[in-house]
């Protein structure tokens, strides 16, 4: 039970009539980077959204099974707004709000508490520093977040998530729209952040998964286009001596 951040038991998910996830069992550990890999459409994003209940926003989603977060059932025992504050999310496409950089970062904290100006300044600065954006933009905190470059926007989104002081950061292909330099900055950041946060990342990029993650989960899709988990293990094991033949095929296919 120690160190188990998430405990997923027999989780299945349907979009209306279509089953998208089948009977997933998985444990996710704290202060590690966990990578989800697998062919597209196999339900990685869907599963990621289960973890902070973002699927609730989608009409017609039905979920069976249980997810415990720090030992608590996220579907029954926690307040959904607090859950999302504890489990932040960074999306595939950078999505800053059309407001100033400062307000973008302050958005999350302001939802939960009224802060004094100085306190808020500290929170914003800390978050921007953690996202290694502070030095670039400290003189223009009032400019619109949309005015930043793509890579900066994504780091702003990360800062925005960090500002609510979450335990977990979920990232859905956060670098897929970025150039290699911006990508490597974000990868460095993730390794830095691992000390204080647990990170779950969906990625298409095999090298990225092997470079940064500690644990890798490989998902696949069956004949009825329903996603399932093939195996979870140490990243080194998954990439260099996978237990399952399907994992080996997928990884070698990607490398080859």
């Amino acid at each position: 039970m120690e160190n188990k951040l998430f405990n997923v038991k027999n989780l299945s998910l349907w979009y209306g009539e279509n089953k998208a996830l089948n009977d997933i069992n998985m444990e996710i550990e704290a202060n590690k980077i966990t990578a989800f890999i697998g062919p597209s459409g196999c339900g990685k994003s869907t599963f990621l959204r289960v973890l902070n209940r973002m699927n609730d926003l989608i009409d017609g989603v039905k979920i069976e099974g249980a997810v415990d977060f720090n030992g608590k059932d996220i579907f029954n025992d926690v307040d959904i707004m607090n859950l999302r504050q504890e489990i932040g999310m960074v999306f595939q496409k950078a999505n800053p709000f059309p407001m100033s950089i400062y307000d973008n970062v302050a958005y999350g904290p302001r939802l939960f508490k009224k802060y004094k100006k100085a306190e808020m300044n500290d929170i914003v600065e800390r978050a921007l520093r953690q996202a290694s954006l502070w030095d670039e933009i400290k003189d223009r905190l009032t400019t619109n977040g949309l005015a930043l470059s793509g890579g900066q926007q994504q780091r702003l989104c990360l800062a925005r998530t960090l500002a609510t002081n979450p335990q977990v950061i979920l990232m859905d292909e956060p670098t897929s729209a970025l150039d290699p330099i911006s990508t490597s900055r974000i990868e460095e950041l993730m390794i830095d952040l691992k000390k204080d946060y647990s990170i779950v990342i969906v990625t298409h990029n095999m090298q990225q998964a092997s470079r940064i993650s500690d644990t890798t989960s490989f998902f696949m899709i069956d004949q009825s286009r329903c996603g399932f988990l093939v195996e979870t293990g140490d990243t080194k094991d998954i990439f260099f001596k996978p237990r399952d033949k399907r994992t080996e095929d997928y990884i070698s296919g990607k490398f080859g």
């Binding site: 973002m54 707004m81 504050q85 709000f97 059309p98 925005r160 998530t161």
Partner: protein
Amino acid sequence: MDRKRSNQIALISIRIFSAVSIAILIVILGYLLFRGLRYSNRKEIKVIPIASINNEFNVYANKSAKLDYLDWFTLQSMAMGRVRTLRTISKVNEKFHLYIDPRVSDQFYSYLATDKLDKFIIKDSTAINYKEDKGGMIVLPITESAPSGYRSIKIYDNVVVVNKEVTQLLNNKKIGAVTLTQIEELKNNKIDNWNSLNGPSLKPDFIANASESELANNPGSISIVKAKEYSMMKNVETLDVVNIESGWNISLDYLLSNSEESGSFGGIFSIIVNTLIMIFLVILISTPIGLGAAVYLSQYAKKGRITTIIRSGIDLLAGVPSIIFGLFGMLVFVQLFGWSFSLISGSLTLSLMILPTIIRTSEESINSVDKNMISASRGLGATKIETIFKIVLPAAKNGIVTGIILAVGRALGETAALVFTIGSSTDIASKLTSSSRVLAQHIYLTIIEGQSIDHAFSAALVLIILELIINTTAKKLMNKGKKNGK
């Protein structure tokens, strides 16, 4: 070869059509601008519109009386005390006052060939505060200069007199008014026959300074005499003269003074104010309702039969002719609620009329807000309603405001929906339930009630300028929205 030919033809036709439509637009706008700014009326008057020189006295009128000239006959009626207000002779609805300097009273009344009226003759010219008297007119010796606030007015006193046969009705034809050019031609015997002016078949014979008997005995004779002389002739007829009066239609004064007598007199200020109050009310009523409905439909309503029916109902309402909203407003607000013809009845009717447009445009811009932004907000722990107020509505703001502005622009130009609902009082509305007139309505009413085409045109110009302001604001916001919206 053929292809080249047909391309050429297509290009030429496109050019021609665009040139034609641009030309039409320029003509329409130019005409509206011209008619709105200047008036130019053709009037038929009894005297020749050329000022005559008087070397005994000058007549001055208060500048606000808006008088440029007077004909001898009107001046005579004034001096005889028959004219009490300026309304028939100028566009001003003022009580008329005449002050005659005692030094020229004899000359003045003799010029007008009438008996002196003592009540107009002042004892001491300095004792009267002319400035205050908007309807004031002063007769002073030629040696005196114009009092401040007054201007000299021209007196027309030459009359075209003709032998009675010239003005006879023959075969349903009768000579009409003559122009100054025609008078010149008649003077120089350049017109051979009266029938070229719709008169009888007689040769015109111009006699300078003719006496009554000369004119009476000579068929076809014509002369120009002083009005005073004419007033003593019996057996002659006069010819009316065409006078083109022109001037500024819109002035600051016109914009800033209140309308009087259903818009026949005075300015347009009260009507502009009413229009602005009405627009304010319409925005106040329709925005929260429309926005609320749009938020509900786009964010909360379950996709299903009922929502579809509501949506098509809204689309249907958006296409309903405004007169039908007018009828509805009359039955419900005017009669059922008993608010009579009033500002509130009219504003509510217009609000209902533009509501479908506001709902649809707002819903569209709400739907076009980046879904990723909404997810981000929810992902940070914001509730749905927090997200709507903090993210969705601010992001959709420009689109929503643009929609509202365009809808309000439509309300601004609306008459049909107001005919049965808002009333027609030209006073500034003091209560929600006061009858009040707005610009578009004013144009309609001044024409329908036959008051003044000039006033209709100047109101039209003001309305167009208001619409222009509204449209440019909307366009600016739209461009801004495009920049922010990506």
